[in-house]
Amino acid sequence: MVRQPGIKDISELSDQLVELDPKELMPLPYPYDDRDTQADLKKLTEAQRQRLEASLDGFTALQLAIPKTKEEEDEFVRQFVTGVGKLLSEDDNWAFLGPLMLRLDYCAKCQSCAEACQVFVGSGRQEIYRPNYRSELLRRIIKKYYSPGGKLLAKFNGADIDVNYKTVARLAELAYRCTLCRRCAAACPIGVGNAMITREIRKVFSQEMGIAPTELHKGGTVKHLATGSSTGMTPAAFADLVEFMEDEVEEKTGMRFKWPIDKKGADILLIHNAGEFMAWPENPEAFAILFEKAGVNYTLSSELLGYDAVNYGLWYDDVQFAKVALKHIAVAKKLGVKKIIIGECGHAHKAITVVADRILAGDNQIPRESSYTFLADLVERGLFKLDPSRNNFPTTLHDPCNVVRLMGIVDPQRRVVRAVTPPGSFREMTPHGVENYCCGGGSGFAIMNALNFPDWRNAVSGRMKFKQILEAFGPELAPDVLDPSQPKYVVAPCSNCKGQMRGTFEYFDATAKTGIRYTGMVELIVNAMTDFEKPFLNPEEEF
């Protein structure tokens, strides 16, 4: 049995609080139902363990160096406690203080959130991953340091926790064991979510202590602001990629046309996640084909940041978030467009439409729309000649949390998928829509690829989604559907979700064993278009 520590155990001086056992993770259905042959979870080497903080569960998202002296440890704790104080200050945290206090004060500890969490349930119900375990740690730390008589009355007022180096270091890692999917907030009888508390903890580490995953900060927002894209793509590289994609579109469809770039007088600025250009170019290619065919007056941008919709600050840092969001708006203003359309990237939807709304005033309030609703409208206006039988394979639809649960866009993407697939071939996952489960790669996990973190992400946080996908295509519904020779697609209109699926499918060797693949949504529309001789989707092409 894996150990189930209580909240106070977080501060114990042991080398590692919990060791996961692959056999005790949530069981999976056929063909992964043999518990004795579960894939291993990669362990750090002894040399890495000597250097890097992994005392929570043996995994490391942050690659924190272990302090060498007691003074360094004490300083680490002091900085964190100071940072927590700033979370509670109107001056330092004006944007989030109100919602944070509601979440800290009104939780009745009913634990309804626990069963809603795919990390907790997927892990085989490990106590440390229970959503409220993490939130309760922050509540106790706040009570201890920031309530009258906190330390003195600790035992009586729920502030009974030893705040030492281990407590804070484990909490830092624990802040990266939640995907910020907000399913817990939807399950809570009074709407208290743990995701925001998690993000506030991440924020203290980043803004007060300069601690954040390399992939999100140094190789993420910092690179985004410096080069124009988190991928490092410069405007010259963007131009080269567009040229290459124009050629590819011609080869695949016979259509030769220039993609509009920096077009003055365009109505719409279309912003993609730049990862698409490099990893899934067929996605921006499909957008270009559809917008060209529909005669949309739009443009892409080659300005710094104008060709990369991501905003990783959403996941860990308010300052970095605001810098990126304001640049995106400035690019749209300079072009004079009437509206921004966001490509198939879930967190970019949340960043620029919802969260940035708090910092956009006056003429910065440029309308923003999801590509899902925009495309549903184009499809339903009959602008494309579609033959659903061209998508002659089973499909299911993954709901990106940020678009579906957060923004309430549920139906348009379903209408699109139904319009481009043969009757009976589309099946829903259970549950879906606003009750969907996160892909497991939310909040940046899909791109956090160092050391053994990918194994945790694929086997633990991605487990529930993988189970749902298998069940959607599962033998209960149709006996032969998991036959590997029958291609089937998870439609996942989000770069991050696709990245996670690529990882999970590879970890479980799913395409070879079950024939399951993933795709974006626009590719499926183009694949159904009767204008082209050749199919646009190629099940043999795996990247």
Binding site: Q63, M233, A237, F277, M278, I447, G499
Partner: protein, 105 residues
Amino acid sequence: MALRDFGGQELEIDEDGFIQDPGQWNQTVATVLAQDEEVPELTDEHWKVVNMIREYYLKFGIAPMVRKVCKDTGKDLKQIYALFPSGPAKGACKIAGLPKPTGCV
């Protein structure tokens, strides 16, 4: 960040063994990195891919998209995987001295 010896030259590498400064790359470095990626010997065919990736990176600051690698070297994806078992992004780019890819790729 750790230091690693590449035939007498000490270079900084990240936790996954990618070199940090592509400017310090040379053929010896490539040969050492190839050992980590299940490529015991770099043949002319390997070099064709490695050099193409490196030249693209020096010009544009990013790795070329996989399909461009295939097109420019005249190889299909299966052939690339046969040369670099850990794949174009993890294997070939690492050997070509590129830092670990960033962003949602």
